[in-house]
């Protein structure tokens, strides 16, 4: 047999591989021949292991070329596992330890010392991390990118450590690090002059921080979401600062008004993205008129929950010709007239968010279809006045439509028939549309084969046949929501043979039993998230099937199921990737059952939701061990109520 590598050399092959992004495609490629495997190995730059077990082998295989390592989905990652799994001479540039709650500063110190070239570290959502961890990270002096979002114990001291240690930082995320104050930000700004992106969302910092930040010469992207102590004065500092901002996010800053936004728009003429959603509800026309000075540069504008008149949208439409994305969610006063003015000017719009714009009717959809042919995402949740007439026009004109949200829009099968013409559709949300039936879904199943995400929340008219049509047609589906579709039975679930499905919600489907779950588990092996809350008929047999077939399951909700202690122990013990379990009101499980099950899974779990009453009866050692291993337990106090 002729070796293909004689014609297709390894480096050429590597160039081909550059174009393959889907992990499944890469997998098939690896399986072609030894040479292909070799090429793929040399080409691979990043891995994201799901389990720790095979990690040392994997890393040894890729050690030369690997630059990026994402350990965020590994359960039971602790200091020893971390220091063991990272090979000593390596070229790692980026490591993600997001949600690695079992790791401590010691592990981080090892990581930093064995990866001399490391440039990016992500330790976000490690809620226990504090200054000591920050100090450990700060020893990576070449660091350019750091995320410490939601490391709740990081204070100004930790930030100062990072600022002094990593003076080359370009991107920094300190979202939700509530302890950080103006003093820390000020020092950061003085030490890290290279900062380009900064996220200080939800920090309790005041205008003084913005005065400091304004002096950063290279800052382009600034996120200030939910900084309640900032107001217009801070924006005034920003507008007069050294930096030439390209993107600013002041959404949810309660004290920021249009006055501040106006000064900002005057001072920062290169702004490309503005998110002013949920600021102060009144938007004076001065701000909108100032937007015209930004005119051509502005590409993203989000004005969620602001008061917008038709004339304001007219100004936006006339001036911001290059607008690419607009968010008008929950904007009072947005009507058909305003939308038509807007789209007439902004013909390049690709994403339009009209969530909860209650005045929007088919006329708006018609004008969007007429002007913005390239629209890709259309969010129309709760736009109750739209009908299949408008959607028909959208489907005809905007053939590139990829995402559409019609939740609670009362659409029917005819609308779905129209939409099914959009063969590029990736995301379709038709939750709460009780008019949608199997007929509508069959159109979708036949035509929208690329669909990745389908939301059928409370589409109560759907039966097993509709589900069959979907699972036969949309084979690439990754997310499927069937909550409260209570006509679907085991037969329907047995149709679910979706190899790529990773996220499945079956909440409140009272008719499904363990046999249905078994059939589904056999068909959907890559499931990582499964919600079976209030599926009252599911028992241990379902757990056995899940334990056996869905090895990658990471999040599981089995509250209110009729699982016994045996099933619980088995599933918690055998699923190696399981990290997040919600098991409230498992009335068939004894205290010993919980105790054993939690002991069996101890070390892997990062989040557990349990009934509050168990707090006193579970052994304190168990709870302590769980917490010491980085597991957060949420105690819920809810009465046991069965809902059909």
């Amino acid at each position: 047999m002729c070796d293909i590598t004689t014609v297709l050399s390894v480096d050429l092959l590597a160039q081909v591989l550059d174009w393959l992004h889907d992990s499944r495609d890469l997998k098939s490629c690896r399986l072609v021949s030894r040479a292909f495997l070799q090429a793929e190995r040399m080409h691979r730059r990043a891995i994201r292991p799901l389990r720790l077990g095979p990690l040392p082998v994997l890393l040894r295989r890729y050690v030369g070329s690997l630059q990026s390592l994402d350990l965020s989905s590994c359960p039971s990652l602790d200091d020893s596992a971390l220091s063991l799994s990272i090979p000593c001479p390596n070229n790692l540039r980026s490591v993600s330890l997001s949600r690695a709650t079992g790791v401590t500063w010691r592990g981080l110190e090892v990581l930093v010392s064995v990866c001399p070239k490391i440039e990016a570290i992500d330790i976000s959502h490690c809620v226990g991390f504090g200054d000591r961890e920050a100090a450990a990270v700060a020893k990576a002096c070449w660091l350019k990118e750091l995320r410490i979002d939601k490391c709740l114990n990081v204070t100004d001291v930790g930030l100062a450590k990072v600022a002094v240690g990593c003076s080359r930082l370009e991107k920094l995320g300190i979202k939700w690090c509530f302890e950080i104050s103006d003093i820390g930000i000020d020092l950061l700004v003085k030490k890290c002059l290279e900062l380009r992106e900064l996220d200080i969302s939800y920090l309790k910092v005041g205008n003084e921080s913005l005065r400091s930040i304004a002096s950063l010469p290279k800052l382009e992207d600034l996120a200030l979401v939910g900084c309640e102590y900032l107001d217009d004065e801070g924006l005034y500092f920003l507008s007069n600062g050294n930096c030439s901002l390209q993107s600013i996010d002041v959404s949810r800053c309660e004290n920021v008004t249009s006055v501040g936004l106006t000064t900002l728009a005057e001072g920062q003429q290169r702004l490309r993205k503005i998110n002013a959603g949920n600021c102060s509800p009144v938007l004076t026309s001065t701000f909108v008129s100032k937007l015209c000075t930004l005119g051509d540069t502005l590409i993203i504008l989000k004005l969620d929950k602001l008061q917008l008149s038709a004339s304001a949208l007219e100004i936006v439409g006339k001036n911001c010709r290059n607008l690419f994305e607009i968010g008008l969610s929950k904007c009072n006063g947005v009507n058909d007239e305003g939308i038509s003015w807007l789209v007439e000017g902004c013909t390049h719009l690709s994403t339009i968010d009209l969530t909860c714009c209650l005045l929007v009717t088919d006329k708006s959809l018609l004008s969007i279809a007429a002007c913005c042919r390239g629209v890709k995402c259309l969010w129309l949740e709760s736009c109750v006045l739209i009908s299949e007439k408008g959607l028909d026009q959208i489907a005809t004109c905007c053939t590139d439509l990829k995402e559409i949200d019609l939740t609670d829009c009362n659409v029917n099968d005819n609308a779905l028939k129209c939409l099914s013409r959009c063969s590029e559709l990736l995301v379709l949300k038709i939750g709460l549309c009780s008019g949608v039936s199997d007929i509508g879904l069959s159109f979708i199943g036949t035509n929208c084969s690329k669909l990745l995400e389908l939301d059928l929340y409370r589409c109560t008219a759907i039966t097993d046949d509709g589900l069959a049509a979907i699972s036969n047609g949309c084979k690439r589906l990754k997310k499927l929501n069937l909550c409260y579709c209570n006509q679907i039975s085991d037969t329907g679930l047995s149709h679910l043979q979706l190899e790529e499905l990773s996220d499945l919600e079956l909440r409140g489907m009272v008719r499904i039993t363990s046999s249905g779950i078994t059939a589904m588990a056999v068909g959907c092996r890559s499931l990582t998230q499964l919600d079976l809350k209030r599926c009252y008929s599911i028992d241990d047999a379902g757990m056995w099937a899940l334990a056996q077939y869905t090895e990658n399951l990471r999040q599981l909700t089995i509250s209110y199921c009729t699982v016994t202690g045996l099933g619980l122990c088995h599933i918690l013990g055998s699923l190696r990737c399981l990290q997040d379990v919600k098991m409230v009101h498992l009335s068939w499980v004894s205290i010993e059952g919980f105790e054993l099950a939690l002991r069996a899974s101890c070390g892997k779990l990062k989040k557990v939701k349990l009934l509050g009453k168990l707090q006193d009866v579970l052994s304190p050692e168990l709870l302590q061990t769980l917490q010491a291993r980085g597991c957060r337990i949420r105690w819920v106090n809810k009465p046991l109520v069965f809902k059909g």
Binding site: S80, W105, S113, K139, N153, D156, V157, A160, L187, A628
Partner: protein, 505 residues
Amino acid sequence: MKQTIGELGIELSSDSKMDLKLTRNSESFHNPNSSNYNLNSFNQAPQYFPNLSPTNFLSRAENLQQNLKTKSTNTFEPNLNSGMATQNPPLDWDPHAMLSNLSFLEQKIHEVQSLVQSIIEQQAEFSSRPSELATRQQLATADLTCIIIQLISTAGSLLPSIKNTLLSNNPALRQLVNPDFNNNLKCEGLMRNFPETAKNSEYEDLLRNLDNEADWMKEPNPPPESDIVDTNPIDEHDLKESDDGDAEREHLPPGSYIVLQLEKEEILAPHTHFCVICGKGFKRDANLRMHMRGHGDEYKTPAALAKPSKEPGSDAHPVTRYSCPFVGCKRNKEHKKFQPLKTILCVKNHYKRSHCDKSYTCSRCHAKKFSVIADLKTHEKHCGRDKWQCSCGTTFSRKDKLFGHVALFQGHTPALPMDEVKASGSGQGNDEMTEDLGGYNGNFASEECLTGMDVKGIDESRAYFSPMNFDGFGALDEFGRGGFDLEDNPFAFIPSGFGQRSGDS
């Protein structure tokens, strides 16, 4: 009778203090209930006193209260109420309230009168039933007690009104008690300032005036008030601030003032006022004057007891400044660039600070020494608070100072607070972890040795934080004490005196 009046006088003055104190209270806590509290404590004296009085008085007061309830009927209630309503706020003296109180007293006296009358009339009957006579007697006693209390509070209501006129005359004090400000700090200051002035000067003067049966009510500006104004600047806190360097700012031309130089012994003497007869030393002249009364009647005259007032011509006297007796000191008049000291207290503090041993050592750091005890106290307030440490070892009392330092110097970083090490070091799983890691990973030989760090961390954190906690408590204590001073002193006096007397009667 004279004795009684004298004692009553004591009651009155001390009661007035209570009034004043209550007034301040209701001002400083902007609490809608405080006025109620004030009111209750004011007029329903029987209810208020028991809280602070010895038990014999307590039982008596309860008794009295019962009697009031059972015997004194509705006729008194409205009177009492009107009195309560009009006396609030107490700063404004209401003649109507006074009148109604007086008429209440009158009524009450009549009642007791008739009661006693009836006892006399029915004396024959009582001889057969002694128990009934005892009951009547008890009733009469209770009524009298009630009258006395009412009289005290009525008279007491006058005192703040005088006070008030003074306050309105003095802008500084008016600002101090301005009810508009909400600043707690100021209120604290006010409360801290108050007891001293009230205790030391005002009380004594009032007492004196009453003793001498002086008609103090008619005087618009009785001596005690001017005293308050005077004593304030000689408060210890102020002294420290107006330290040695005052004259520098004055730039008095040489020769425009008299230079006094006290001897070293004089400066260091603990007391400055000495009794010419027995030689006993006092810190305050007022105390000396009180002491002098024991040496004979000639020292009891109003003139002898009165505060030695400034002679009318005293302002014409040339300005007096002081020189330090230490030769070679800049504050010594022989020095080329002589800078005089402004007051005797400045001299004292300067001499102690500059030319004496520092004998007071801080009990926390055992390093800092002071010669002026007030300096030590100031230091102790802050000692141990330098918890902000830089990697270079420098410590700072404030975070922003540390961060300013870190910003200035290349490579300096804030040191990690030690409590965190402690927290992570004390974790259950951590020791195992350390062992585990030490077993198979040599990379841990990073700058901070693991176990060493832990031990050090815990020790240091103890050293760091225990004083701070201590300090916190200390501060609390101090504050609490301040409050007690205020409440205790004026009150401690009343019940005992009153209780005894009522017990005697």
